[in-house]
């Protein structure tokens, strides 16, 4: 498999802008959801007979419900500022992966159906009615957008392609054309409580395993509790944290931090997932249903506060949307932020000198930090704008002696998506995922060459899963990938302080 997807040699220098190559990725599209996956989310199971009319009707509905969509459909002047900003365009050269062209796939239908100019002079503005061809383009290219918002940073009007791809996916779902990866997973989280389908019994076993491993390693018992009513903190982690590496090493680190802080905590077997793929498919109702379980769990377990683990898009949902979706959180202790990011929690503890850290434990590592897209451009940490960049870096610098940033055009608000976000972390899209990782792999290669970087730390479950899979295509070892709290975990000296 690794030989089939071609990757260019990495230079570490500024990436060249590829010439446009129409249709380069036209044949790539995700697998279609089965009937049951769609109906479980209250979408038609299969494509409805009058789908064209229904799709246009849904578009009108969304235009009335979302200011973003209404304004963004009208005001693009096609200046081209975004055309070389998408990692998928830089990796594939397919012009429909230029953000403006991706938006135009919806705008051409908008013009035809909702504007006078488009009705009178369809040729002038390239207005087009909904058709099998248009649907095929939507299906393919709205599933080649990871909703990372990089384009919106460079748009003079702040047009965010993520909003448009979310709307497109919602329109497609509404006529029975759903994506398997997202809709199947949403079924699992709504039925079982997490994306991976881990049942409460298996989750309890996993936590026991983590607890035993940790104790064996450090000779100090740290608890990893489940469903403990009355705990101070409900921890909501992405379920990958219970399952795969390097996620689980990060999860181990959360437990050590709570232990040192002297704060009682618990996970919930009912709400054992931070990820919320409802955002990826643009469905407000689904997103709210998924989030609602967390509110219920926090209420039932009588916790004081909610702390969340390392997950990028979920932090966007938690930070930006939870208060709207499932707030107000009047049953929680108002002296804490809801939700609190584990990085905010850890940095606060470090600043208060509440944890003893041995930086030399990470001395074999030269670390860089990958800013995850949704954290960088759709959320904040702490009180100051930009805290989402500073706090994770501050933590890394507090637990490691060797830290270096990648090229500044590839970090912070300019960060590149890992290539697997937005509901695209599925095998059939591997070609796109590998090519979309090019800008990040190239910048990483740069600091590997110049500074001997051997660790790329991050705070997103999707980034971790994506990079461990695709970096080998660029001849970069997968064990480069680390959780920030994995580094914390290594450096914490258990029992070194009394805690809070």
């Amino acid at each position: 498999m690794a030989g089939k997807i071609e990757t260019p040699p990495l230079t570490g220098d500024k990436l060249p802008i590829p010439p446009v190559s129409p249709g380069a990725m036209a044949n790539l599209s995700p697998n279609r959801a089965a009937e049951g996956h769609n109906t479980f989310l209250n979408f038609p199971g299969v494509r409805v007979g009058d789908w064209k009319e229904k799709a246009v009707e849904k578009m009108g509905d969304l235009l009335d419900k979302y200011k973003s969509l209404r304004v963004f459909m009208d005001i693009c002047v096609k200046c081209g500022s975004c055309t070389d900003k998408c990692h998928y365009f830089l990796g594939t050269g397919d012009p429909n992966n230029m953000p403006v062209a991706r938006q135009e796939l919806m705008r051409k239908v908008y013009r035809k159906e909702f504007t006078l100019g488009g009705k009178l002079f369809p040729g002038l503005s390239r207005a087009e009615e909904m058709s099998e061809d248009v649907l095929a383009q939507w299906w393919s290219y709205y599933h080649q957008c990871s909703q990372c918002r990089r384009c919106s940073v460079y748009c003079p009007y702040g047009i965010d392609t993520a909003e448009i791809s979310m709307a497109a996916r919602e329109i497609m779902d509404s006529v029975g054309v759903g994506q398997k990866y997202c809709n199947e997973i949403l079924g699992k989280v709504l039925e079982i409580g997490n994306n991976l389908g881990i049942n409460p019994h298996a989750l309890a076993n996993t936590l026991e395993f983590v607890e035993e491993e940790q104790e064996e390693e450090s000779q100090v018992k740290v608890r990893y509790p489940m469903d403990e009513s009355g705990a101070d903190v409900l921890l909501i982690a992405p379920s990958a944290d219970f399952f795969s590496s390097p996620h689980i090493e990060g999860f181990t680190g959360y437990g050590k931090i709570f232990h040192e802080a002297g704060v009682s905590w618990t996970v919930s077997s009912y709400a054992s997932e931070f990820a919320n793929f409802g955002m990826f498919i643009g469905s407000y109702d689904t997103m709210r249903r998924v989030a609602e379980r967390i509110r219920e769990a926090a209420h039932d377990l009588k916790v004081k506060r909610i702390v969340v683990g390392e997950c990028g898009h979920a932090w966007r949902v938690g930070y930006s949307f939870w208060n709207t979706l499932i707030g107000p959180f009047d049953f929680l202790d108002p002296s804490y932020r809801t939700p609190t990011h584990i990085c905010e929690f850890t940095w606060d503890l470090i600043q208060r000198d509440g944890v003893k850290l041995d930086k030399s434990a990470n001395d074999e590592r030269v670390v860089t930090f990958h800013d995850s897209c949704n954290v960088s451009r759709a959320s904040r940490m702490g009180d100051m704008p930009g805290g989402q960049y500073d706090i994770p870096r501050n933590i890394i610098k507090a637990v490691c002696n060797h830290f270096v940033d990648m090229d500044e055009e590839t970090i912070k608000e300019a960060t590149y998506c890992c290539g697997g976000g937005g509901g695209l972390l599925t095998d059939e899209l591997m070609d796109l995922r590998v090519k979309g990782a090019l800008p990040r792999a190239n910048a990483l290669h740069g600091v590997m060459e110049s500074h001997g970087v051997n660790t790329m730390a991050m705070i997103c479950a999707i980034c971790k899963a994506q990079f461990t899979k695709v970096l080998p295509y660029y001849h970069i070892p997968m064990d480069m990938v680390a959780s920030v709290h994995q580094l914390v975990s290594s450096a914490v000296v258990l029992g070194g302080k009394k805690g809070v």
């Binding site: 802008i17 010439p19 446009v20 129409p22 235009l63 419900k65 979302y66 200011k67 973003s68 209404r70 304004v71 963004f72 009208d74 005001i75 693009c76 002047v77 096609k78 200046c79 081209g80 500022s81 975004c82 055309t83 900003k85 012009p95 230029m98 062209a101 135009e104 504007t115 100019g117 503005s125 390239r126 460079y154 003079p156 702040g158 047009i159 909003e163 407000y284 709210r288 609602e292 509110r295 219920e296 209420h299 039932d300 930070y319 930006s320 949307f321 208060n323 709207t324 979706l325 707030g327 939700p339 451009r377 759709a378 904040r380 009180d383 100051m384 704008p385 930009g386 989402q388 608000e413």
Partner: protein, 248 residues
């Protein structure tokens, strides 16, 4: 007072139709932007955490084209030149619609001519760029070229009246004053002026139905206009179905 000739009657009528179309069209669009709810908080971060901060962010965006500057320096240069010169030229045209002419308008008049040349140059640059850069050529449609040709032709005909085919400026002023005081006067039967004026009317009529609405629309762009405070202040979605399914 002389009687209004047929040409001037037609153009005076057209003027009022276009003014009405422009005002109603823009008002309808702006109302649509303003009235459509924002269900969620979606500012592109880092974003200001206060209302005052948002005003400053928007001002930097509208006056300095900050995001475009981050995106592409050459396009930014062309864009800022285009808009600044256009603004100066429009300001200069106040001399045709005011009596007495305010001192600042009179002062700007010579610069206005220079701005006209700049506007023509900027429009030409942006036009060539659309053809020459493969990515931009791919996304450009007839409407995108049309807008540039329209503004470029306006600048060209305007400059032509100044430098090549001198028109009767006093008569132009009478005609313009007549329009804004609702007592139409005769226009000069000068082909270049008529063409220039027709282009103005076209621009006015086209504006509300086109991408030119970016001028008002940007103020409603949620990624730029929202405050980053979702944890501190609960944002309410007006159309949310608030029926709770939980036990809470």
């Amino acid at each position: 007072m002389t009687e209004l000739n047929i040409l001037s009657t037609i153009f005076a009528s057209l003027s009022y139709m276009v003014i009405a179309l422009f005002l109603l069209g823009v008002a309808r669009k702006i109302y649509g932007y303003a009235a459509t709810p924002s269900p969620l908080k979606i500012p592109t971060t880092p974003a200001p955490v206060s209302g005052g901060g948002v005003v400053i962010r928007m001002a930097r965006e509208v006056i300095l084209f900050e995001s475009l500057f981050k995106g592409n320096k050459w396009t930014w240069l062309g864009g800022i030149l285009f808009h600044v010169t256009f603004a100066v030229v429009l300001f200069r045209h106040l001399r045709y619609f005011t009596e007495p002419v305010p001192w600042l308008v009179a002062l700007v008049a010579p610069v206005g001519i220079l701005a006209g040349v700049g506007l023509l140059g900027a429009a030409a640059y942006l036009f060539v760029r659309r053809l020459a850069v493969d990515r931009v050529a791919y996304i450009s449609s007839g409407a995108d070229y049309f807008a540039l040709i329209l503004v470029g032709s306006l600048a060209l005909t305007g400059l032509a009246m100044k430098f090549v085919f001198r028109t009767d400026v006093a008569m132009v002023k009478d005609f313009c004053m007549g329009i804004v005081t609702f007592s139409p006067a005769n226009m000069p039967a000068d082909p270049i002026f008529i063409l220039h004026y027709l282009l103005v009317l076209t621009l006015g009529a086209y504006f509300p139905f086109s991408k030119l609405m970016h001028a008002g629309g940007i103020f409603f762009s949620p990624t730029r206009a929202q405050i980053d405070n979702p944890r501190e202040a609960r944002h309410v979605n007006p159309w949310a179905d608030d029926v709770r399914v939980d036990k809470a």
